[in-house]
Symmetry: C2
Subunit: 350 residues, 2 copies
Amino acid sequence: MNMEKEIVTLLHGAGGSYMNSLIKDVFLGLYDGYGEIGLNALDDGAVINNIIFTTDSYTVRPIFFKGGNIGRLSVTGTVNDVAMMGGQPIALSLGVVLEEGFPIQDLKKITDGILSTAKEAGVHVVTGDTKVMERGKIDGIIINTAGIGVRPSQLDHNIQNLRKTREPKNWLVPLNLRPGDKIIVTGTIGDHAISILSSREGIGFEVNVSSDAAPLNRTMLNVMEVGGVADAKDPTRGGLADLLNDWAEKSGLGIYIKEEKIPAREEVKSAVEFLGLDLLELGNEGKAVLAVSPEYENDVLNALWSDPLGKDAQSIGEVRKDIEGVILETIIGGKRYISRPIGDPVPRIC
Amino acid sequence: MNMEKEIVTLLHGAGGSYMNSLIKDVFLGLYDGYGEIGLNALDDGAVINNIIFTTDSYTVRPIFFKGGNIGRLSVTGTVNDVAMMGGQPIALSLGVVLEEGFPIQDLKKITDGILSTAKEAGVHVVTGDTKVMERGKIDGIIINTAGIGVRPSQLDHNIQNLRKTREPKNWLVPLNLRPGDKIIVTGTIGDHAISILSSREGIGFEVNVSSDAAPLNRTMLNVMEVGGVADAKDPTRGGLADLLNDWAEKSGLGIYIKEEKIPAREEVKSAVEFLGLDLLELGNEGKAVLAVSPEYENDVLNALWSDPLGKDAQSIGEVRKDIEGVILETIIGGKRYISRPIGDPVPRIC
């Protein structure tokens, strides 16, 4: 990157290859060697003193959408980042930046969304900060939440079971992946991105799809109680395509998935076709992707199917050492490489 | 507050009475009873599981100013919030929201400021998030940091010494204040706000004052090592005026301070006079105000004077039970009540 001339583009926020290089070129310079899982892991969060610590800023538009609002999202996004490491979220911080003129009533609706979603997850907002910027200097509202999580006994149990087949790390991380691990998606893909698009004015299409935004921490406790979960990640910005490439890159292994197995609503599939999008690049806010030791595959699926947030779970592929990168077997039997998305099919979905 | 018609104004971000009511009317609704020091304390941070947790968003303009930049500020502000509770900061999260078109070179300067200041404080950036908003949707860059702190042995020592004169809480909180406690300011007041003003174009005045932005956690360890510190707060937005009113309100005691004792640079005093500002309402980013049990006053002052960040420390007044609110004895001997500021003399200083 030629830093003297470069500027930030929307691609740098798109959860794909550009964002990846911005993070590596600029933010990774902040890594100073600290942390059981530190900044250099570029994972959903860090682990220090056995505490999980994570943060996300939320700039979603519109702020109220089918199935949620920016308040609900600012809880689920951060809760899920903690949960994907294997942690149990306990506390959130809340940083709100408002535009002069923002309606207090809307702010109240947003804090209602925060409170109800926090209760759903069993997490608590314990500290906060408010800033106001002049009219025109910020688009309404942006929210940052940071989350703290602790180590649940279910994670110990899961890691213990994982020891039967490998030398696992102490948390759910990509380095735990082994050839043969099954890739399980906890439900339908693309709902959040399509809901956001459909909630936007002037897009010219409307579908009856609600955002899947939901806290997955209880679901994660259930599957870790079964055991054999090597890693978990939530396919947010960049979708499945970015997530699976991240796994392949960090584990040094290949990922093979079958298109026909990927769960998606008919309305979402139609919208994807109509709008010329790639289902695999769409962001989700209530789904996890699990890499599971094969002997636990059925039990994990059964646990998911008995959970409202996992009822559409599917095993979509596996980790392989004989291939590199991410390969999709298409419905008609062809194979194609899936790379990290470059742009963002739907900007500002979170 | 009539929520249906109310909108957010700049006053709501000004660290005074309006912000106070916004927090109480809207954000306090998020309190669910959780935390050793919870959201309802409206303190610099929360305490959960013996961990301090705090957050701040930074919207300062200009982003580069005399004595610092938004990166340095985003470390010092959050580190100081942890330190003011008596904690030792260990880890920071970093949420960056950028405007499309922001120069990468400026971003690099900012992360350099973050890294060097984190080293100065002995704290580590361990996790982060980046978002990009479309051109015109946000004014360049805003940063959020959240901080985690642990309990240092110096705090145990300090609380132990405080037991000689009262039944203290377990952390540095306003409820520890007792009549007779001395109010100590660790240095000159107003430097940050005047530096920011002077760094702005079109203000029509320029003074050679640098921001005081500095991490105070080591200074706090030094004074807690002495002991007798009942509470500490940093006079950021709203300045001394807001801080002292906060103490009076939360402790139910009065505060009496002497104008002649308040340390301030000549350049700052001149600027305050020239611009018609109130010194007591100006924000600071490298100063603490301590309430100290009287028998420790001299030792705390001596400890501060041997610390570069406390060399201009002064005892400026005391906590009293025979008065209500905050009273200033002016240089000419008059007395006037100091109330929480309504507006912000210098908006967006942090």
